[in-house]
């Protein structure tokens, strides 16, 4: 096995060994086969649950692994959505232009994140102030987009449309002979699923690599990491950019999913949601984050049948209970309990075998 592949299992991620990867492969294949079993509506919903995973994973590595609490991931989410909207509405879906729009809506947030990150980490902004700056940026962007209702706010042929949001951007289209492939329904689902798998595996390698270990060292004690000779600010900047590009990926996929993006997808309530998912699952582990995000977005949708306010109340309760009684996160706490119990049992059996001769 090449060395980089061996990094899939490591100290910074839960789950290892053949049993874990067998279950993982089984889950991926089963999920991939779902379009053959369930109806189109269910597939649309499933796509929606998976779309949010990227932003949550990004926040997990920024907050859980590197110890930087960013409240503003939705700024990059929204920026990506609007970028895709503006570019794709202007250039249309001929040729590879929608893919160009997709690429640009990941690149632009990356550049903005690099700028914001440089401003913060190289300017000595630390701890909770990072949260304040990122949240302020999100709110600035939200407020700005909310006031673009007038006809003068038009970029090319794309109208920003203020609080009502932009809609009717073309879906991803791949030219393929006579009938181009249009990514919607099952094909969009498969695209998103494939991206989830690639990003998840990629992040496992990243967090278990030297880079990931340094991030954790910085989380545990930034001053000590600096004294040991690591360029703390550069690492923080890097992880912030990676996490923000992931938020942007969620944003652009969300826009593709619903052909719709609004300023309220960046506001205070929207900004709270990724924090809830990540904190509830266990911010220090990407597997826990992934599972919690899919589970909680599913749960929100189930609860929202009675009205959105019920879903948010339950999210609040879950978050409160987790912070008070399982600060490491639900999935991580359960996982650790199970592991400890298994270890205890193993120790007990070992003792029995050892003590048998003497008895």
């Amino acid at each position: 096995m090449p060395r980089w592949l061996a990094l899939l299992d490591g100290p910074q991620t839960l789950g290892r060994g053949p049993a874990f990867w067998f279950v993982f492969a089984l889950l991926v294949v089963a999920t991939g086969l779902l379009p053959a079993v369930v109806d189109a509506f269910a597939i649309t919903n499933l796509t929606y649950f998976l779309v949010w995973v990227f932003m949550a994973l990004g926040l997990s590595i920024i907050w859980g692994y590197a110890g930087i609490l960013s409240f503003g991931q939705t700024a990059f989410f929204g920026l990506a959505g609007y970028t895709y909207g503006v570019i794709s509405i202007n250039l249309g879906d001929a040729g590879l232009w929608t893919w160009f729009a997709l690429l640009m809506s990941l690149l632009l947030p990356a550049v903005v994140a690099a700028f914001v990150g440089y401003f913060m980490f190289y300017g000595g902004v630390r701890d909770v102030f990072v949260g304040i700056v990122t949240l302020s940026i999100t709110l600035v962007f939200e407020t700005f987009m909310a006031q673009t209702a007038g006809p003068e706010w038009t970029i090319g042929s794309a109208r920003l449309n203020g609080f009502n949001g932009m809609s009717n951007m073309p879906p991803l289209t791949f030219p393929w002979g006579e009938t181009p492939i249009v990514f919607d329904g099952p094909s969009l689902f498969w695209l998103v699923l494939a991206l989830v798998v690639v990003v998840y595996l990629g992040l496992r390698i990243v967090v278990n690599s030297r880079f990931g270990n340094v991030l954790v060292a910085i989380r545990e004690n930034p001053d000590r990491a600096e004294m040991l000779g690591y360029n703390v600010r550069l690492y923080q900047l890097f992880v912030f950019v990676i996490g923000s590009v992931l938020a942007a990926m969620s944003g652009v996929l969300y826009t593709l999913w619903g052909a719709y993006i609004t300023p309220s997808s960046m506001g205070l309530t929207a900004a709270a949601l990724p924090i809830i998912w990540v904190a509830a699952g266990g911010r220090k582990d990407i597997t826990a984050t992934l599972l919690a995000t899919v589970f909680l977005t599913w749960l929100s949708q189930q609860l929202a049948v009675k009205g959105n306010q019920y879903a948010l109340i339950w999210m609040g309760f879950i978050l409160l209970v987790v912070v008070l009684f399982a600060p490491e996160g639900l999935f991580v706490t359960v996982w650790n309990r199970l592991r400890d119990r298994r270890r205890l049992r193993r120790v007990a059996t070992a003792r029995k075998t050892v003590s048998l001769p003497s008895a």
């Binding site: 709110l139 407020t143 700005f144 019920y310 948010l312 409160l320």
Partner: protein, 292 residues
């Protein structure tokens, strides 16, 4: 004459903005400055104060008493929440932020379910006065005075009372204060209650001027945070200048470009202040005077 009227109109706007920022920031600043807890449910304490005021005034209580009810209700809720939740989260900064955010979600959405999207408001008392082509609300013109009075009262509380001395000792060095016999747990609890009650009072004071809606906390909390971050940890030193500076920026931008741009201006100011003066105005003043 028209120039004078214009000038007064601007001053009125400025003072109104100043009062709003001071009143918003007070409760949050005390809890943050004294306890280091960032209370993201601050806006919901304001909402609580406003709702109780509106409901008890409509039930027939005279307005001042209704406002007292709102203040006490928010203080009581603060006392209970401190006992049940906040107490467990001291020294866990991130967790206290997340937990108060959860509380804020629960309170907002709970109020939406219980009381619906909005409740019938109150009439603003005292009417209005005319100046040139403008009409000014007497009540809103009084709010800056109330804000200044409150600042004075808090100064007295923290400098001249037993509670004030104990609480300042606790901020400076909690362990030493405990060794000298101060019950720091009780002081934290009292401080949180005071902060919550002040938020309730803010809600009560603004109840007659706005329509109370469950999400009103969000409108308040941004302004509160902006003021507190610019002010820094020392409430007495930083809050008034911070509110004055921000009010000036906001009213200037609002007058020229509209309310949303005013809001954006405030947020941009905060981003710059965090970068340039991370400890806010009060931290800067203390540093210049050779303090800690």
């Amino acid at each position: 004459m028209t120039f004078l009227v214009e000038a007064y109109a601007f001053f009125y706007q400025l003072a109104d903005s100043f009062a709003f920022l001071v009143l918003c920031g007070l409760g949050l600043a005390i809890i943050f400055g004294m306890m280091g807890v960032i209370n993201l449910a601050h806006g919901e304490f304001i909402m609580c104060g406003a709702y109780v005021t509106v409901l008890s005034a409509r039930a027939g209580l005279p307005l001042p008493f209704a406002m007292l009810c709102g203040t006490f209700a928010a203080g009581l809720v603060g006392l209970i929440l401190e006992f049940l939740i906040i107490r467990r989260l001291y020294h866990r900064l991130f967790d206290s932020i997340v937990a108060t955010w959860a509380l804020s979600l629960i309170a907002t959405q709970g109020m939406l379910i219980v009381a619906g999207p909005s409740i019938e408001g109150l009439k603003t008392p005292f009417g209005s006065f005319e100046l040139g082509e403008y009409s000014f609300s007497v009540y809103r013109a009084l709010l800056p005075l109330i804000a200044l009075l409150l600042l004075g009262a808090l100064y007295w509380l923290f400098v001249h009372t037993r509670f004030g001395v104990y609480s300042r000792a606790t901020i400076q060095d909690a362990n030493m204060a405990r060794a000298l016999g101060a019950n720091t747990g009780r002081i934290y609890s009292q401080t949180f209650t005071l902060g919550a009650a002040l938020a309730g009072l803010t809600g009560a004071l603004y109840a007659p001027t706005i329509t109370a809606v469950p999400t009103m906390g969000q409108a308040f909390i941004v302004q509160s945070f902006v003021t507190v971050v610019v002010s820094g940890a020392d409430v007495m030193l930083g809050l008034a200048p911070s509110a004055a500076v921000l009010a000036f920026i906001q009213s200037l931008l609002t007058k020229s470009y509209g309310q949303l741009i005013g809001q954006i201006g405030l947020l941009l100011t905060v981003i710059i202040v965090v970068r340039v003066l991370p400890k806010g105005i009060s931290g800067w003043v203390l540093q210049r005077n050779g303090g800690r």
